[in-house]
Every structure is written in structure tokens, then in C-alpha cells.
Amino acid sequence: MQKRAVFGHRLLPYLLLAPQIAVTLVFFYWPASQAVWQSFLLQDAFGLSTRFVWFENYRALFSDPAYYNTIVVTFVFSAAVSALSLSIALLLAVMADKPLRGATAYRTLLIWPYAVAPAVAGVLWIFMFQPSLGILARGLRTLGVDWNPLLDGTHAMILVIMAAAWKQISYNFLFFLAGLQAIPKSVIEAAAIDGARPVRRFWTIVFPLLSPTTFFLLVVNIVYAFFDTFGIIDAMTGGGPSKATETLVYKVYQDGRLGGDLGGSAAQSVILMVIVIALTAVQFRYIERRVTY
């Protein structure tokens, strides 16, 4: 159902929209256009002169093997974070959907991680997996794993993936739970009577009916892994060791802020911007055409 407000004055709606538009202009369009402009510029090493170089920054970027390495790292990281957080959240939601005693407490506990700030989450995981002191790291040692995320790139990657996924589980869980509860109980019962045991029921009925939710969450999680994990990576590994955990967003920061390559950094931001716009477009298109059963 659509609600239609009636305004007394023709200007009033624009006036009411003005603050929102102003905020968007100042905090999004302005910096975005700055980034685009910046990406066409090249500064000398001392920041004394600036030259307009067209696509030189982009060309440099795509001929740099380090950039491809970062793309691979980002891809692996995002895929792993999304897969891990989605599957664990789905598993937990399926368990929480059953009418159990203490289900409310269980659900509340599951929502907590979402309220933890990314950097804090990172620090928490660092403590647990700190090679010499962390409880879990020591556990791994006793199992014969030479755990050292400070030196081993794969270990570092696993660590940031786990921390980032853990943070996102709550969000996914809530959506999955809502999605599960929207499936009519009688449909599941009909499937049970039709001879489908729980596992088969899940894959043939529940999972397909959940697919709109899953797709929505997949996009959200990819965007999260691309952009919102900056704090976790910064707190835990700083992109290291030797760039093993440097994602695209982290590289923007690394090159621009620390490396002083403003033009290259801006070019990277523009590429990221294009990626996020593409993801959002896919999302919107899908939601618009989304089948409602």
C-alpha cells in the first residue's frame, strides 16, 4: 500500500528534502567528484606541483602486479567472509526457528556481536589468537599447528576472515530468522507429510523459499566485506604480513594516506565506487523484479 501525503504549499516538500539533499551533496557527491578529479591528477613527490594526466593513474594501477594481488586478496576475503557468515547465520537461524525453551535468550545473544565496533572486534580476535598469549592460539599449538598470523600470510588471512565473518553473523541471522518465519508452517508440514525428511525438506522447500533473502544478504555481505571491514583489518593486521590481507579499500588508505600517492589512491576509490554502484544496481533490479509468492 502506498501512502500519499498532502502538502499545503508547493515548496514545502522541497524544503523538507533540503537537509537530506544537502548532506548527500556535502558528504557524498562533493568528495566523490573530488576523487574523480583527483584521479586524473599527478602530484610530484614533494606535493609542490600538480599535473593533469588523464588516465595515467589508472594505467599505472592496472600495470602494477601488486594491484592484481590486492584484487585477488579482496576476492578471496569477500567470498570467504560472505560464505562463512551466511552459512553459519543460516545454520543458527534454522536452529533458532524451532520452538525451543530459552529461544529468546539465544536470539538476543546472537545479536550482540553486531553491536561491537569493528576495531574492538578485531582486538578481541587478536587477543584470542595472539601467538604467545591467546587462548585459542595456544590450543592450536597443542594441536600441532604452528600458528603465527604475524608472520604467516595464510594464518593472518584466516584470522581476519573469521573476525569479519563473526561480526556479520548477527545481521545475517536476523534476516534469515525473519525469512524463515515468513515461510508458512503448513507448507513445511505438507512437505513432511509428502515424505520429505528434515534435510531434504530444507533443501527442496526451505532453502528455495529463502532465496530472495539469501540473495539480498549475499550482496550486503559482499559490500560489507569490500568496504566495512577496514576497521577490522586495520586493527588486526594492517594489511600485512607483506600485503597478504590488503584489500582494495585498505590499499586506498595505504597508498593515499601513508604512501602519499593521492592520484593513484583516488583512481582506486573511483574503481571501488563503480563496483559499489554496480552491486547496488544489481540489488535494486533484483528487488524490483523479486517474485512474491
Binding site: 520452538p99 508458512p184 503448513s186 507448507v187 508440514e189 505438507a190 512437505a191 513432511a192 507429510i193 509428502d194 515424505g195 520429505a196 525428511r197 531434504r200 527442496t204 522447500i205 528455495p208 523459499l209 512474491t292 509468492y293
Partner: protein, 353 residues
Amino acid sequence: MAGVTFREVRKIYAGGIEAVKGVSFAVPDGAFCVLVGPSGCGKSTLLRMVAGVETVTAGEIRIGERVVNDIEPAERDIAMVFQNYALYPHMTVYNNMAYGLRNRGVPKPEIDRLVREAARILEITELLKRKPRELSGGQRQRVAMGRAIVRQPKAFLFDEPLSNLDAKLRVSMRVEIKKLQRQFGTTSIYVTHDQLEAMTLADMLVVMNAGRIEQIGAPLEVYERPATTFVATFIGAPPMNLLRLAAAELSGLLGASAAVPPEGGILGVRPEDLVLAPAGARSDGGLALPLTVETVERVGPESFVYGRLARGGDVIVRIPGAAAPSFGEQAVAIAPRHKLHVFSADGSRRINS
């Protein structure tokens, strides 16, 4: 195929609500059993326990010889038609019907044959490629029926399958369900609170009230000899008239031979068994109730006269045609003795035969 037997079946829900309070009866193999009763009396609960989607708190349910209390719904080999049809929204009609067969590992050509056969019987062949959301309510109902018959299960369970249809469709589907059940000879348990459905479909009518069985019998038997005042007023429309009578009045009416309890009892007489006579008329040996006409409902082939009794209380008389008395007229409602029903004072027991 198999009969279904209930032995002292109870259901207490998690909240402590006792929905079914010890129910025992047997539905013979191939019979069409209809469960009726007012809303909340536990009909659906009982049916869902047979299906296995609700646990049995105590007692025993058997399908055929097998006790099914702890058996998964998947292994009970029954089919259920839900009130909201519960079709699988993401599957075509064909797949909705094929789903149960696939789960049981029926070979593909056989599935195809069975689905097409069921679709032909229900005249939904041209709908096989559609999704449930592209169907009308009546068509969905047919698909739900198709999903049930395609598997040729041991028993059909229906939970108010027609209540979402319009009146006309309901009548034709009712006839069709009865026809299908005869054709397949499958034991069926059907829940409804529509009397007409109950009376026309049932071989065996089970009247429930507040988690207990009030009466079991053939529909006409229940209509003609209701076991309690609850059944008497629940079956039949408009409901049976009930009058509280003292012991002396009762034995006067029934004759000295009848065993009348000292605290008196409740007299029942159906509106259709009463005849309106002019004021002052008497009934030889039967019931004669002087009344003043209050309202008349004319529905065409018959009319319902609502009267206020001279002795206190109300009465409904059903008369043929539209030639009914008008408001304020005095009349006498008369019924022969063999049309009277007598119940114990608390209404829990029938006294006369």
C-alpha cells in the same frame, strides 16, 4: 489402505491447554469419517496428530495395525489437504504433485503417468505448468486434492478444505470429494464445522465438544437420536428446541412406563417436527405448546416461526411454504410423542429410546 484407530488419545499443548481429552474411536478401513464441532474443540489437533505434525501427549493412534505415535509424518503414508492448501509456492503444479512421489523414489516415467492421471481426474491438466500464485482459489484447491490422490496413500486427511471457497464452488467440490473417495475407497478423516458438509459426506459422524467426543454414529442416526443436548442443538438448523421440564410433566408426556429421573429433565423437539395449529388445539398424547408469534422468517420453500411460549421460553417452528401466521397471533405448536427427545437434567445423557 488401512483404518485409523484412536485409543485414549490426549493432547496437552505446551501452554498447558488440554485440547483433546481422551478420545477413543475407530475409523474402519475405507470409511469417510467427519469430525464436527464448534471452533476450538480440538478437531484440527486430532487430525494433526494423525498426520504426525503434532505430537501425541498420551494414548495411542494406529494406522492399520501400526502404532504411529513416534513415527515421522514422512513414514505414515497419509495425505493431507490443508485449509490454506499449503501448496509449494516455488514449484509448478506438476512438481507440486510429483514431489511426494519423488521423495518416495518412484521412477520418473511412473511419476509422469501418475501425475497426468491425477490431473486428468481433477481436470487440471492444462494447469500443470503454472505456479500456485497463478491459480484461482478453486484451482488451488484442486491441486491440493491432486497432491493428495496422486500418491494413493493409506488415508486422506482433510482440514476444512472447502472453507475458503465460495458457496457454489463449495457444493460442487463437496460432491466431487465424495465421488473421489468412493472411487479410491481410501479411508478419510474430514474436519469441518459446516453441518451440511458433515451430514452429506460422512459415513461416520464424530461430534466433538471441548476436547471430548459427544457422539459417534451415521449422520442420520445422530440427527434422529442425538445423545446429548449439545449434539441436539449442534446438528440441525435451526437448532432443536429445548425445554426444561419437571419430573411430573415429563412422565405425563411420556407415559407412566417411562423411567423419569426425580429431578426432571430436558425435552427436545426439532423445529421441523412441530406443526402449528390454531389456538386452543390439543395433541392426543403428544406435545402441545401454546405460543405467541414473534417473528417469521420466510426463506421461500419454508418459513421459520419464532414464538414466545405461554409457559415461558422461546420456540422455533419450521413450516412448509410461506403461508405463516403473522406477528402477535396465538397458536399451538404440536408434536407427536415419537418425535420427542428427552435428556437428563444436565443434558449429558439421552433418556428416551
